[in-house]
């Protein structure tokens, strides 16, 4: 029977429990986090979601097919193009429609712009968690240029409602392609500025290196995809694995994280790698934008064979789209009726949520906002 050392006995400290949420500056959105803290070190955490549940998938079943695309914007308004694209691809697969080449190119253009705008929002959230104010304003200023492009092409800045089954609603105005090329040049310059200001900043490196290490097999087991998965070495990119909407026509390298020059090495899957990967994704998206903008063919932009009553034949399909957070799957079941039987989304953020209790163990309380910001679980797409 080991005798408890008297000193340890009287110094035994109880764990402090602290329930954060549903609204808190440390959290990426309305969710609850029950922490048990040993001093400033987090011992364990449990999360609770559902605060942003709007019954999106129930709403699909009560609206005619035409309104489905408008609803899919609200899966994740930060990257509404991805929700629309997932639904459209699935329905086009059921109805066996071929989207004209120009429509596919515009979809690629808007997807990459949506990815850039989502990653810029990501940088703002990480900087906000660390109180690095200056880069927030630089990034928001540049994000305006991307949102202006959305408004020019589709009429709205965030919730575009621009894709239709079979292509896009209206053709893009001629000035759009030139302005996309302008934005590509802008971001080459700006990325360098972000790096000087923030990425190579010593305080930033110290705050993120070694924080919340997600190993490759844990990422795979939990199903973490997208930048978070790639940062942990689970290299899976839907644009390469299951090319959709003409992505196989472009050659681009899937960005993989590696440490910054100072300690170049394989990516460990910590917060710094996740952040770096988003920056590299922006430059990849800029290359893709350039290729798509230069190679866009003219001609038909939408499949017009719908006829008066746009009825989707009965059937079922599953489409995959690479969003800024990972693999977004969309399972559509239709019974040939006026409205869909079931539209189910597989959001990438469900896996990010399930990674939180593991990653949070053992970190300090101050790192919690930074970890959650770099992991970036999308609350609106996880609760639907």
């Amino acid at each position: 029977m080991s005798i408890q050392h008297p000193l340890e006995e009287c110094l035994k400290t109880d764990l402090a429990t602290w329930e954060i949420g549903p609204y808190d500056a440390a959290l990426p959105g309305p969710m609850k986090l029950r922490l048990s803290l040993d001093g400033e070190v987090v011992v364990s955490a449990a999360y609770e979601t559902g605060f942003l549940h709007r019954g999106l998938e129930k709403a699909f079943e009560q609206q005619p097919w035409r309104a489905v695309v408008a609803y899919s914007d609200y899966l994740d308004t930060d990257g509404s193009i991805f929700g629309e694209l997932a639904v459209c691809l699935a329905v086009e697969e059921i109805a066996r429609i071929e989207v004209p080449r120009r429509g596919q190119y515009v979809r690629v253009l808007l997807s990459e712009l949506g990815r850039i705008s989502a990653h810029l929002g990501y940088i703002v959230r990480v900087a906000k968690a660390m109180n690095a104010e200056t880069i927030i304003h630089y990034v928001l200023r540049d994000r305006e240029r991307v949102l202006d492009l959305f408004e020019l092409a589709t009429g709205a800045r965030y919730t575009l409602n621009y894709l239709r089954f079979g292509g896009i609603q209206t053709d893009i105005t001629d000035g759009f392609v030139e302005r996309v090329l302008e934005v590509c040049e802008l971001f080459r310059v700006r990325l360098k500025e972000y790096n000087d200001l923030f990425t190579y900043n010593h305080a930033f490196l110290k705050r993120t290196q070694g924080l919340g290490v997600l190993s490759a097999d844990r990422a795979a087991a939990l199903g973490v995809t997208g930048p978070n998965g790639r940062a942990s070495g689970h290299a899976f990119d839907v644009r390469k694995a299951h090319p959709y909407s003409g992505y196989d026509l472009f050659d681009f390298a899937v960005p993989s994280a590696g440490g910054i020059e100072r300690d170049e090495g394989a990516s460990v899957g910590d917060a710094n790698d996740r952040f770096l990967l988003r920056l590299r994704e922006i430059s990849t998206s800029v290359d893709l934008l350039k290729q798509a903008a230069e190679g866009i063919p003219s001609g038909e932009f939408n499949y017009f064979g719908w006829g008066e009553k746009a009825i989707i034949p009965s059937g079922e399909a599953y489409s995959r789209v690479e969003t800024s957070r990972g693999l977004l799957g969309c399972h559509v079941v239709s019974d040939g009726g006026p409205s869909p039987t079931r539209i189910q989304f597989r959001p990438p953020s469900l896996a990010h949520f399930s990674a939180i209790p593991e990653l949070v163990k053992g970190i300090r309380l101050e790192d919690l906002p930074v970890l959650l910001a770099t992991l970036d679980p999308g609350i609106s797409e996880a609760d639907r």
Binding site: A59, Q63, P64, R66, A67, A70, Y71, D73, T134, H137, R141, E144, E151, L152, A153, T154, G155, A156, T159, N161, Q169, T170, T173, E193, D196, L197, F198, Y200, N201, H202, A203, L205, R262
Partner: protein, 178 residues
């Protein structure tokens, strides 16, 4: 052992030097905003409504979806927009017009506190009477002010009697002439 002490010292000094260089580099990136000319120095935020830099509706691109406008004369009262609206913010009440065949749209309310500006109603509108303006300044202090009314208003019973009287008069004239 000696090697390791020396190497840790070098690594420590290198780390400190790297820290200084990177923090100084970050500080320097903010300097051109202070003194530089050109687009870096220009403020991005503005004192809204700033007469020079604030965007007015016609600065916005052609397709930008602002508040709705319904040209009630061309509206056929088919209620397609009311059925398709995802936010269910359009309310239409109709009643027979002066002559029974035509329709009199007495209420056509669009509740802009619920509208999400998705634009499907404009797409679905048959006679193209409903369309987006590029207006975006619609803030108001109370919710019921946000409801825009395009309807022609309910027909009062006296009005109906007057119509009936006019119709009878027209029929008498036709009867006399034919």
């Amino acid at each position: 052992m000696r090697g390791s002490v020396f190497s840790t010292l070098v690594a420590y000094l290198k780390d400190v030097l790297w820290a200084l260089r990177s923090v100084w580099g970050s500080c320097l990136t903010a300097v051109p905003y202070l003194f530089g000319s050109g687009d870096l120095h220009r403020e991005v935020t503005e004192l809204y409504p700033d007469p020079i830099s604030s965007k007015t509706p016609d600065d916005l691109p052609a397709k930008s979806r602002g508040f709705l406008f319904n040209d009630i004369d061309r509206c056929s009262g088919c209620r397609e927009c009311e059925k398709i609206c995802p936010a269910r913010c359009i309310r239409i009440e109709a009643e027979p017009a002066a002559d029974e065949s035509k329709i009199w749209i007495s209420v056509f309310d669009v509740d802009f506190s619920k509208c999400v500006f998705c634009g499907i109603c404009v797409e679905v509108c048959g006679p193209n009477s409903l369309r987006h303006t590029r207006e975006f300044e619609g803030a108001s202090y109370s919710n019921n002010e946000m409801v825009t009314r395009f309807g022609r208003g309910w027909v009062s019973p006296e009005q109906r009697k007057k119509w009936a009287a006019m119709r009878r008069q027209i029929e008498e004239e036709d009867g006399v002439r034919s």
